[in-house]
Symmetry: D2
C-alpha cells in the first residue's frame, strides 16, 4: 500500500467555536488539526484509537504552533489538509493547512510535534509494524 | 465535622467561553457546575480526584439540566452556589445557582444527577466512609 | 415544500471531547445538539446564520436538558436526530436523540428551549416568513 | 504608575479540560494564556473588555505557539506568568510560562502574537492613551 501523503478533512464551524469577536476562537483550530491527523493515520491503515487501545502507544503533544491568516466564521466549511513533515521512531511532526472550502482562501497553517509514549506517559519507541503509517523509513529503526 | 450544605465558588468568564452572540455559550455553564460540586466535596473533606484515584469511584453523569435567566458576559465574575439535592449510596443529585457576583443578579440554575460507578463504568455502591461527604444518612446503607 | 420533521446529522467524536474518564465529557453533547438543529433549519430552507445576519433574529437558549444512557467514546460516529417538539412565534423547543451510528445504541436524549430575540437580546416575535421553517401554524401569528 | 512586567494568575484544572490520556488536552492551555494576558492588562490599568467596548480595539490573534514540558492533571493548580515580549502600535507579542503551583515544576511555555484591529477586523493603530498598558515607548508612535 502506497503511503498517503496528505489527507483532506472537512469540518463545519460550530456556533460553540465562535467567540464574541464573531470569529472562531483561536484554540479551536487545534481540535481541527487533531481531526486531520487522525484521518491521515486512518488513510494509512490505522485507527489512532487502536494504537492506544491495542498497543498502548500514545502521541503526547510536545509542541504546537498556528499562524492565522484569515478568520473562519460560523457555519463556514473548512478543509483541513494534514501531512507529515518528519517522523522517526520516537517522534512525529504533522503539518496542517486550513482553507475556506467555498472560496479556497487560506485560513490558517499549523504544526504539531508529538512524542510516542506508553500508557505511563514515558517516551517509547514506535513498534516497527507502525513505521509505514507514519512514513518512517524502516532503516531508521 | 458538620456537613457543609452549600459552597460558593467564583469564576471569571473567559473570552473562550463567549460566542458570537456576545454572551457565554450555554454548554459552558456545565464545567462551572462541575467546579462548584468539586469544591462542595472538598469542603466536606474529600478531593474528588482522590475518590477516583484511590477508590476507583467515579461520578458518571446521568442527567443534567440548566435554565438560563440572564446571560453572563465576558470578564463578568460569576458565583456558583452548589448544594446537594438528594443523595443515596448509588446516586447523588446536585443543584446549582449561578449569580452575577457584582450585582447579585440570578444568571442560571442547574441540576446534575450522577451515578456512582467503578473504573469499568458499571454502577456501584458508594463505600460507607464517603457517606458523610455527600450527606448520606448511614442508615440508608 | 413539505416540512421536514427530523434531520439526522453525523459527527465523529474528537479526542478533545473526551475526558479522563475515557468517555465524552457531558457538556460536549450540547454543541452536537446545536449542529442537529442547524441542519434541521437548513433542511427546512434556512441557514441559521442568515437568520442572524439578515434579520437580526437570534435563538437565545432558555433551557436545556440531557439524559445520558450510554457513554460515547473517542472516534465513535454518533447520529444526532433533531426534531421540533413545539414552536410558536416567540419560542421553539427542539428535541434530540443521539445514537451510536454503528450499533444503533441509544446514547443520549436531549431538549433545548429557545426564545427568539433581537440583536439587543430582548424577546421578539418571529417574522411570519420564517413560520414554515419551524413548522409554526400561520394562524398562530 | 510603573509598568507591571509580569503578572501571575492561578487556575485550577477542570475535569472538562482533561482528555482520555488523563492529562489536560493541549488546546486548553490557550484559554489559560488568555486569562494571563487579560490580568496583565488589568494590572496595567485597563480592562480588555473596555478596550473592546469603548474604543472598538480588538486584539486579533495572529500567531500562537506552545511547548509542553510536563502534563498538567485534573485538580492541579497552575500558575500562569504572562509578560510582554514586544509591543508597538500595531502589534503585541505576549509570552507565558505555566508552572505547577505546588511543586513549581515547569509545565508549558507559550507565545501569542496579536494585531490591533477595529470592529471591522481590519488592522489599526493603537491609540496613544493605551501605549502605557502595553509598555510601548511613546516615541514609537
Amino acid at each position: 500500500m502506497a503511503f498517503v501523503r496528505t489527507v483532506r478533512t472537512r469540518v463545519r464551524v460550530r456556533y460553540a467555536e465562535t467567540d464574541q469577536m464573531g470569529v472562531v476562537y483561536h484554540s479551536n483550530y487545534f481540535p481541527w488539526m487533531e481531526m486531520g491527523r487522525v484521518e491521515l493515520c486512518r488513510a494509512n491503515g490505522i485507527r489512532y484509537r487502536d494504537l492506544e487501545a491495542n498497543d498502548g502507544i500514545l502521541l503526547a503533544v510536545a509542541e504546537v504552533a498556528c499562524r492565522f491568516h484569515h478568520p473562519a466564521r460560523y457555519d463556514d466549511e473548512v478543509d483541513i489538509d494534514a501531512f507529515i513533515i518528519k517522523a522517526h521512531p520516537r517522534m512525529v511532526t504533522f503539518g496542517y493547512r486550513m482553507t475556506h472550502a467555498e472560496t479556497g482562501r487560506k485560513l490558517a497553517t499549523g504544526e504539531t510535534r508529538h512524542v510516542f509514549v506508553g500508557r505511563d506517559m514515558k517516551p517509547c519507541k514506535l513498534p516497527p509494524k507502525y513505521f509505514e503509517v507514519f512514513g518512517i523509513d524502516p532503516r531508521q529503526e
